[in-house]
């Protein structure tokens, strides 16, 4: 029998961040109430087993606020390397803070859902707080790289990204390194002010028997635009939870994702879009390619609240299985309480088109190469939406 959630938290970090009292209490109560890690009987974890995670023996990562500044490059770099933060000089209108003092205004807007967020609230070791002033249009992209090597490490971070009204920015987030039997629980809170725009590309490619839990919560105000491309490539275990709160009119949300799994990889994508206000659009597109014994999960949910009329929500999930041992579990959900909406979803699962493969082979292309080409084509829609040249390059090496 594996340990309880309380024991799990104890080994991580006994001194939590400066959170509002009520939230800490909520997290504590949540953990105590749930007591054990959820099982597959729990709807949210139906396809993802946590037995291995609950048995992990971890030691927390020691965080050093900040070392010498990084030299300037084509992006504003923030690098987290084995516990130390390195950061480039922020440009005008951009504020970066590592003090670990999470903006309590931001926190108060949040409610905690599920054990991943509870653990994060109770044991977060730090995080970056980024704020962009009103009307600031950042030219250079912000790049956050997490690089952690080590065994039995437990890394819990809570990042915050606030865009003031009419600000716009581009963000790249990269997770890499090697972490055997390690645990990572990274939470991002995005606050998008009126008329702001944020484009985010995320690449997850940590190696080793590493267990990654990634939560992104996005709060959108009037006329804001948020785009997120999540690429998960050959990670041992990844659970992505993305929750969008479209709180005011006129927002647009784009959630794209590609997950590539091999060997015993388990990649689980959960998205939840709350359409709370009228006249908004959301567009979701997730594609999975699974080989060997890999398992993929896609659970997308769109909820249209009462009176949130004129919503246009689209959700697509397409998967390719390359092996008989691979598994895909898809659950695209719609929950709709308003009538004047256009919501649709589609999900397909299949294999590579044998005719297309044959076509390429007749032209003298080797089978491996042909398969690569077809997969490249399949993922092009998602990869093409990635703006970050850094991530594009990494993907080209990966897919070739």
């Amino acid at each position: 029998m594996s340990g309880t959630l309380i024991d799990f938290c104890k080994q991580l970090n006994p001194t939590p961040l400066n959170l509002p009292e009520a939230l800490l209490k909520a997290a504590k109560d949540g953990i105590e109430f749930q007591h054990h890690f959820p099982t597959t009987r729990d709807e949210a974890w139906k396809y993802t087993r946590l037995g291995r995670v609950s048995a992990l023996k971890l030691s927390p990562v020691k965080i050093n606020p900040s070392a010498d500044p990084l030299p300037s490059s084509d992006s504003i770099d923030i690098i987290f390397e084995n516990g130390t933060w390195y950061c480039a000089q922020p440009t005008a209108g951009l504020h970066i803070d590592f003090s670990g003092d999470i903006d309590s205004i931001a926190w108060n807007a949040c409610t905690l859902q599920g054990h991943v967020q509870h653990i994060n609230a109770l044991t977060a070791q730090g995080g970056v707080a980024i704020r962009i002033d009103a009307n600031t249009k950042l030219i250079k992209p912000i790049r956050i790289i997490h690089r952690l090597n080590g065994e039995h490490t437990g890394l819990i971070l809570h990042h915050q990204f606030v865009l003031d009204n009419h600000a716009s920015a581009q963000l790249e987030v990269i997770f890499e390194g090697l972490g055997d039997d390690s645990y990572e629980n990274i939470l991002f809170d995005f606050f998008l002010g009126v008329g702001s725009t944020l484009h985010t590309d995320m690449l997850q490619q940590t190696k080793g028997t590493h267990y990654g839990f990634h939560t992104q919560r996005i709060y959108q105000r009037k006329d804001s635009t948020f785009a997120l491309q999540t690429i998960t490539a050959n990670t041992h275990f990844t659970r992505n939870e993305i929750e969008v709160f479209s709180q005011e009119e006129g927002t647009h949300t784009q959630l794209y994702g590609a997950f590539i799994g091999q060997e015993n990889n388990h990649i689980d994508n959960h998205t939840y879009v709350h359409h709370m206000a009228p006249n908004c659009t959301s567009d979701e597109n997730y594609k999975g390619v699974l080989s060997h014994k890999a398992t993929g999960v896609f659970n997308g949910k769109v909820k249209v609240y009462k009176d949130a009329q004129k919503i246009n929500a689209y959700q697509a999930n397409k998967n390719i299985l390359l092996s008989d041992q691979a598994t895909i579990n898809a659950k695209p959900e719609l929950e709709i309480y308003a009538d004047d909406v256009k919501c649709s979803h589609g999900s397909t699962t299949g294999q590579l088109d044998q005719q297309a493969l044959f076509f390429l082979r007749t032209r003298g292309i080797s089978e491996t190469k042909a398969i690569d080409m077809l997969i490249n084509g399949f993922l092009a829609e998602i990869v093409g939406a990635v703006k970050s040249s850094h991530i594009q390059e990494a993907l080209h090496t990966l897919l070739d």
Partner: protein
Amino acid sequence: MMAGYTENELAKDLADREYQYGFVSNIDADVVPAGLNEQVIHLISAKKNEPSWLLEYRLKAFEVWKTMIEPNWAHVAYPKPDFQAISYYAAPKQVKKYESWDDVDPEMKETMSKLGISLEEQQRLTGVAVDFVMDSVSVGTSFKAKLAELGIIFCSFSEAVQEHPELVKKYLGTVVPISDNFYAALNSAVFSDGSFCYIPKGVRCPMELSTYFRINAGGTGQFERTLVIADELSYVSYLEGCTAPQRDENQLHAAVVELIALNNAEIKYSTVQNWYPGDKNGNGGVFNFVTKRGICEDHAKISWTQVETGSAVTWKYPSCILKGDYSVGEFFSVAVTNNFQQADTGTKMVHLGRHTKSTIISKGISAGQSQNSYRGLVQIQKQAEHSRNFSQCDSLLMGSVCGAHTFPYIECKNSTAQIEHEATTSKIGEDQLFYCQQRGISEEKAISLIVNGYCKEVLNQLPMEFAVEAQKLLSISLEGSVG
């Protein structure tokens, strides 16, 4: 002239629509006191003069049921029934065999004619054999002799237990095991009666077999048990229709239907469900918690078609286990909810055999303050090579206070399988209406046209006789109010 008839007016008409088939007939019922314990099960079994293996089956189911808790994952909210407040057996007192049609209780005849499905008429005009279930015991079975000539067995479940125990024993609980779910376990413990049908090898049943279910005595739960077995190379089309009289307190209906299609057999199972849905304020109405499942052997086919317009709460997932190679499962559904009705319905297609195919077409229409959910599972097991699934779930919303939800589960463990799922939710589009009107079609005609076209795919699947009934029901709720 109904020019200017708008969708809002249609929605209002829908809300004002009273249940047409609401009435209570006064037939003396032999009712067992409320409550559920082993004695009640012994009593039911004794009253029906059942063999000991069936009593053991019931008692085992009761033991299992006691350890289970009521499921709450469905997207419905309702006061949990008090299972100890329900009477588990009601049979019309005069259970003597009717020599001729004239011997039938005149009041029962009256009931049937109010339903518009007079047995005489059915017999004379349509050639449909009707096994009419009044409360829990079958009282009228027709065309039996004609069917018997072909070796087809079509009778009430209790009769089958007495006359064909070997068939019942062989197949009962093989598709829906007693521990399957809370309501199936309850049904297995206390089922009162139902229909039994066996089609022998190579026989194509010449007529649609039909059962009309009715709930009659107040405070009596109905626990129907249906078992349809199609032997190799046979074909049967089975119809099931439901209407119930108006009631104030909630009534529980927990039926189990098991279909068995052996090699190369085909079963077509059609349902029109119109239990009492509760009044305009959401009072009363039937709770319909049904477990329906069929198993297909090699090259067999099971096709479920349902038109759901009634019940306060529906919890129903007609499913197919595609066990044999090249077997086919189909599910066609129209679910209409109105006022405070709640429906959580869909299907499960479990692909076990190679080259198995399944099709799911589900159309939901929500009006008033109702909640209509599709919940389905498509599961491709590892050995199910070259399986194919296509699912389409559309929802139509009428009025701003209703809800339409889709919860599809897709689980694929085989790389040669091909699965497609698509779902849409929308209201009758202004652009669609505009398009029609632009071509000189009046607004009410346009709405009727759109709704009609929306359901046609499913209605087309119904057998002729049933299509009439289904269209009647739908026209009351939708098309009729418009045209």
